[in-house]
């Protein structure tokens, strides 16, 4: 079983190599088989490994496979080594299974594109890098996977490279995440400097023994790693790249910018949770970041007009929930939400892609409508996904994961009630914008007619994901609804007992039930409010939009709370000014001056070649005068 571990990232990597080198020669069928098959095979191996892990749990709680030593410099010798523990199993299964479904979907989505092989090559590389990231047993290897997914994100956002706007979006994503990556690298330096190792398990051990709770070094390291997580997961203040990343093809948005890559930050914090536990200050920052982000993104999602941007802001908001959970120490709740979010968000994106494809690449909500009759499969699966996102009670997986987070926030030691209130407000916003989207797109009159009906290649992943989005939550239900704790007990292998579902103490059961009912009311209320505002009486909305304050607020939220503008003014423009000024610095001006002087001399000499005989005769005359003068006077 151990020997199989390396296969999991190796199979998609092989797929990438084959497609990159021979993709042009394989033909559509060949590319599809290699591209989708490699991820499918990896999923199979992952399932086998998971079954093996569950049936025969290894000693020490983790399977490790070491391939070779990567490099060895000055006391640091990380190896290419993979570790499988419960956390890694969850992430691996999600990445490979959801990835496989999305790859399958892409066969039809990108059917007519001439970059078909390139697409699957980049997607395979991405899956491979993500798997390296989650299976890595040391931090440099994790960083390798981290950078790999960043590279693939850049390649795939700018997939349709002929449009320069896509290139700009890709560069923006890369640069903003780079800021986070630099913080993370400095964090790694700090850890190595003070702890002497970068093997993850070792680092956690040494940190807990060397640093007391609240140690400044621990806080610094945790905050730096948090910086990396913020960049990659598009949280405040580095969230500006994700809405623009929707320029890439929809399967890319589904896989990279919803289900997997953006959750790498969540994985990082979960993986190094021991370090974060040493620093309550850092945990508070994590929770605050999560709470603020979920509110901010929720407001922005409410006014977006592009179907993919709504889902992008929604992703930012939901990852805010995961950060909130991590910040209050509810590790398994965060991972549960990651899993359910991967299912329903991927489903929503794939459904949106089906709509876009059916309407011949139309992405504006204002031009959609009434699609529930023309695209029934898409409608029902989208509805299931949206219900899960809005956390409709009892029947959706989102309900259980969000409830776990809210309950954990309520019980958090510092400011837990405020965090809970933020989460609840976010739930209202979530339900509101989700059903705004559903009502606008699928109800009402049809504004653009359907030109391309999706086939089974698109419908199958939608249906499978819809099923997962429905039943995925049943692995972890609260006490009041069955008390299933499969998930948290499985993750105890990584997080220990403390990461499990917070046990209600004494009268806590009643409080828990009350909070659940409140959350259910809020989400249903959000649905009803959306129904009133967007379906029944759109004139109310038009009136608000017409008012000056309303319009200004709408513009503010549409632009993502002005962050792009702020960064442009504070960072981008001074940088461009500096670059422009330094283009004419004195070293450059020496060389350009040299060139210009020579050019001037050339011009002067060229002017003497004017083809006029009288001019040349004048030259002869002057020469004669000079010659005589020399002869006579010397």
């Amino acid at each position: 079983m151990q020997a199989l571990l390396a296969l999991i990232p190796a199979l998609p990597l092989a797929g990438f190599l084959i497609l990159a080198l021979f993709g042009g020669r394989l033909g559509r069928r060949g590319v599809s088989i290699v591209g989708v098959g490699s991820v499918g095979a990896s999923a199979l191996v992952a399932i086998l490994a998971a079954i093996g892990f569950l049936t025969a749990p290894p000693a020490g709680g983790a399977l490790t496979q070491r391939l070779w030593t990567w490099w060895s410099v000055g006391g640091l010798a990380p190896g290419i080594a993979f570790t499988l523990d419960p956390l890694a199993i969850v992430f691996t299964l999600v990445v490979t299974v959801v990835g496989f479904l999305i790859h399958l979907y892409s066969i039809e989505y990108l059917a007519g594109d001439d970059g078909y092989a390139r697409f699957f090559a980049c997607m395979n590389l991405f899956v491979s890098s993500m798997l390296i990231l989650v299976l890595a047993d040391n931090l440099p290897l994790l960083y390798l996977g981290w950078e790999g997914v960043g590279l693939c994100s850049y390649l795939l956002i700018g997939f349709w490279y002929r449009d320069p706007a896509n290139g700009r979006a890709a560069r923006k994503a890369f640069l903003v995440t780079r800021i986070g990556d630099t913080a993370m690298a400095i964090g790694l330096f700090l850890l190595f400097r003070h702890l002497g190792t970068l093997q993850i398990a070792e680092v956690m051990n040494r940190a807990t023994t060397a640093w007391p709770v609240g140690a400044p070094l621990a806080t610094a390291a945790a905050l730096l790693l948090l910086g990396g997580a913020i960049g990659k997961s598009a949280q405040l203040p580095l969230q500006t790249w994700l809405p623009d990343a929707m320029a890439g093809p929809t399967p890319v948005s589904a896989l990279i910018h919803a289900a997997t890559m953006v959750t790498a930050g969540v994985y990082l914090i979960a993986r190094t949770h021991a370090l974060f536990l040493l620093s309550p200050a850092a945990m508070t920052v994590v929770a605050l970041v999560g709470a603020l982000t979920l509110l901010l993104a929720g407001c922005s999602a409410l006014v977006q007009t592009d179907i993919k941007r709504v889902l992008a802001y929604s992703t930012i908001s939901q990852i805010g929930y995961m950060f909130l959970a991590l910040g209050v120490g509810a590790w398994s709740a965060a991972i549960l939400h990651f899993m359910t979010h991967a299912f329903f968000k991927a489903l929503l994106f794939l459904g949106a892609g089906a709509v876009i494809l059916a309407l011949h690449h139309e992405q504006e909500i204002a031009r959609m409508g009434g699609l529930r009759r023309s695209l029934p499969v898409v409608f029902w699966t989208f509805l299931i996904g949206g219900a899960s996102l809005a956390a409709l009670p009892l029947v959706t997986s989102g309900f259980y994961s969000k409830d776990a987070i809210l309950w954990a926030a309520w019980n958090a030691p510092h400011g837990g009630r405020v965090l809970w209130a933020a989460g609840l407000a976010g739930a209202l916003l979530t339900a509101l914008y989700t059903f705004r989207l559903i009502f606008r797109v699928f109800f009402g009159e049809e504004r653009t007619t359907v030109t391309h009906r999706p086939t089974w290649v698109i419908a199958l992943p939608l249906v499978v994901l819809a099923g997962l989005a429905t039943i995925g939550g049943f692995v972890e239900t609260p006490h009041t609804l069955g008390g299933v704790t499969l998930f948290s007990r499985f993750l105890q292998g990584t997080f220990g007992v403390a990461g499990g579902h917070a046990e209600a103490v004494g009268a806590g059961h009643g409080a828990e039930l009350a909070l659940q009912i409140l959350a259910a009311i809020v989400s249903l209320g959000g649905v009803w409010l959306a129904y009133r505002l967007f379906l029944r009486r759109p004139e109310t909305l038009a009136r608000w939009r017409g008012a000056r304050a309303g319009a200004a607020l709408r513009r503010f939220w549409l632009g993502g709370w002005g962050f792009d503008e702020l960064y442009d003014r504070v960072l981008v423009r001074p940088f461009e000014w500096t670059a422009r000024v330094s283009r004419g610095d004195f070293i450059d001006s020496f060389y350009t001056g040299l060139a210009r002087t020579l050019g001037g001399l050339h011009g002067a000499l060229a002017a003497t070649q004017n083809g006029r005989v009288r001019f040349y005769v004048a030259g002869i005359a002057i020469g004669a005068i000079l010659a005589i003068a020399i002869m006579v006077f010397t």
């Binding site: 070649q609 004017n610 083809g611 006029r612 005989v613 009288r614 005769v617 005359a621």
Partner: protein
Amino acid sequence: MPLEHALLLAGALFAIGLAGVLARRNLFFILMSIEIMLNAAGLAFVTAGAHWGGPDGQVMFIFILAVAAAEVAVGLALLLRFYHARRTVDADAADRLRG
């Protein structure tokens, strides 16, 4: 007439011819100015020959005469070709070697 004065006359005529070549744009006048210069050179030769008392100066003048005749003939033929091609006798119009 003293030698130097005749030579001075030749030099002055030469200078006048040079001014004419440089200043005029009409090809005819350029050719005429060249004739003045040639004539001045011939005058110088004859003067020198008279100074030395031999026929050499005059012989040289005869050769100059032959050269001038040939040059005028060819020059005027070229002028005629130029005029037929460009419809003008402006010397500055012949600037296709410009570059």
